[in-house]
């Protein structure tokens, strides 16, 4: 079936397998609360959300800033559906145990047994979160997608903020627990589980991007007028990209909830959207590899490697200026340097296999795209 495997495909596959093996090794060697595992998990979640944002902003050219809002929907759906029944009274202490009286992992473990059941339940909750987000995106998209560029960004940003306020509304308390935390729901596993899960979702996005629909999205990005003249229905395709991107943002939000252990609407601020936008831009608009790699670099340096800059000792050097806030100053400098030296992001519009192609061809692609 497959044509002969070329060199770059093989190298890419080896790299991906090595990453997966590394994650399994981490899980085996370190306790689950170790910072390295936390970083991998969070970076995985951010990768998925960044790639979903890239699908919309980078591949379809729709500048949307609603990502935090969509993540919030996914996170709440996951948390609400997964809190064990026995713990609901404690979580919803001000709302009489809430109105949802079941827990998907428990429902499925009743049917499929105690080992696979909870995992299937959690996956279902993630996907339901994605679907609810997609439905919401469809409704938002009806009026909002008529807008272009900056106006679309402002409208989606506004929507995300409204959603955040809405979820803290006390009248919704029995469902969302008002402005209180949702907690005590299960996590799906360690670093390897996150990598596999996110890998599958990103692979689906990759397949989509390389399909005829992905090409149509890129045509809309490159020249809307030409795309419409060549028979591509703009409204339909924009809506499609918006819904798909939101679906994966919702799933990513659910995974963020898993990772964090608690959910509160307050934490899905627009600052989170900007963080993801930063990752997309630094990674390269239109490069899925770029978004993933940058997510890992960004989360690892911010959460772990540069911690010393805040706490007094960094790389063995102690200095009085290494105190709270200094880390963010350094991160800002790094971002500026990256943006100055990699005008099109770290990866430009290239993907992982492109790095291993013969040099001349890669140059042509990179050079001509400006």
């Amino acid at each position: 079936m497959m044509k002969k495997m070329n060199r770059e495909t093989v190298i890419t596959a080896v790299i991906l397998l090595a990453v997966l093996a590394g994650a399994f090794a981490l899980d085996a060697a370190l306790p689950s609360y170790h910072i390295a595992i936390k970083v991998v998990k969070k970076a995985c979640v951010y990768s998925l959300v960044a790639v979903s944002m890239n699908l919309l902003n980078g591949f379809t050219g729709l500048f949307s800033l609603g990502q935090a809002g969509f993540m919030l929907l996914g996170a709440y759906t996951y948390a609400i559906l997964c809190i064990p029944v026995a713990k609901r009274a404690g979580v919803y202490q001000y709302f009489d145990g809430g109105i949802v009286r079941f827990s998907l992992p428990e429902v499925f473990s009743g049917v499929l047994g105690g080992t696979i059941g909870p995992v299937v339940g959690m996956l279902c909750a993630l996907l339901i979160g994605g679907l609810i987000t997609a439905l919401c995106a469809y409704l938002i998209g009806l009026p909002v997608l008529r807008l272009k560029s900056d106006y679309l960004a402002i409208a989606t940003l506004g929507f995300a903020e409204i959603l955040r306020a809405f979820f803290q509304w006390n009248a919704l308390g029995p469902l969302t627990n008002g402005s209180n935390l949702l907690k005590n729901y299960p996590d799906i596993g360690g670093a390897a589980a996150y990598i596999i899960l996110v890998g599958v979702f990103i692979a689906v996005i990759l397949l989509l991007v390389n399909s005829t629909y992905g090409r149509a999205f890129m045509a809309i990005r490159d020249d809307e007028v030409a795309a419409e003249a060549m028979g591509i229905n703009l409204a339909h395709h924009k809506r499609l990209a918006f819904i798909i991107s939101s679906f994966f943002a919702g799933v990513g939000g659910g995974m963020l909830a898993m990772y964090m252990g608690t959910v509160q609407a307050l934490s899905f601020k627009s600052a989170m959207t900007y963080e993801i936008l930063l990752i997309v831009v630094m990674g390269g608009i239109g490069s899925i590899t770029g978004s993933v790699v940058t997510s890992f670099l960004y989360i690892a340096s911010l959460e772990w490697l540069l911690r010393g800059l805040d706490s007094g000792t960094f790389l063995g050097i102690s200095s009085p200026i290494f105190k709270n806030g200094f880390r963010m100053a350094i991160v800002s400098v790094i971002i500026m340097v990256v943006v100055l030296f990699f005008r099109k992001g770290i990866m430009g519009d290239r993907e992982l296999p492109d790095l291993f192609r013969p040099r001349r061809k890669a140059e042509k692609k990179g050079g001509g795209a400006q």
């Binding site: 005829t212 229905n233 795209a369």
Partner: protein, 282 residues
Amino acid sequence: MSENVLRLDSITMQFGGVVAVDNLSMEINKGEIVALIGPNGAGKTTAFNTITGVYEPTNGEVSFLGRPIVRNHPQGKMKKLYKGSDPEKFSRAPVLNPTPDRITALGMARTFQNIRLWKTQTVFDNVLIAQHMLRTSNVFSAAFRLNRAEEAAQRREVGELLEIVGLSDVKNELATSLPYGKQRRLEIARALATHPKLLMLDEPAAGMNPQETHELTAFIGRIRTEFDMTILLIEHHMDLVMDISDRIYVIDFGKLIAHGTPEVIQNDRRVIDAYLGVEEDA
């Protein structure tokens, strides 16, 4: 009598108080190459845009293969402002205002005066994307590769098309890295990939030197025979127009001033006046 492909009936396009196209009627029959010419600002591209759905005409009807596809009459504020003729002619029939992609789907494909290729895509992908419109797959079957047969057929057809237009040696280059003349050809190939019945070329020779214009003339002629295509073109280069057109429509200030074979047009007093200007005392 040959089959009628495109018919414009009393098309008027008015922007505010300016009548850009005034009561234009024309016909294109199957297999013809028809040119629409006129001095700068005469309303050629505006007429083109009303046919392709970019603008909604103020009044008039466009029929394609005998079926009305675009129709409008002065409405609302335009009722008072309207300066054209026959405001009542279409007021009883329903308004038709499809988007450009619907019109392309009916079988009219166009090129642009200022080349509009997809910049980040290769030559091959530029043509392949134009086939997106003919898909039978939905987003799921496409993403999960259940449409392999269709995709393979599309790729084969695009390869053949590039072979015919002479671009297969550069198919993996970026579209924008091609020289100007080849970009024009690529735009035509992209339009052909949508399986049109009518090909509409908006100033295909704009910015070309005489040598390139000559090649393009031969190329358009070849497309007509190989694809059995009906072609409407807007053009400034008189030698190209006179060479390949079967019939020519000439408009000036939005009004049709002459129409006929190239010989008739070349000797038409009003056409010569429109292009060269009239002497005040004459």
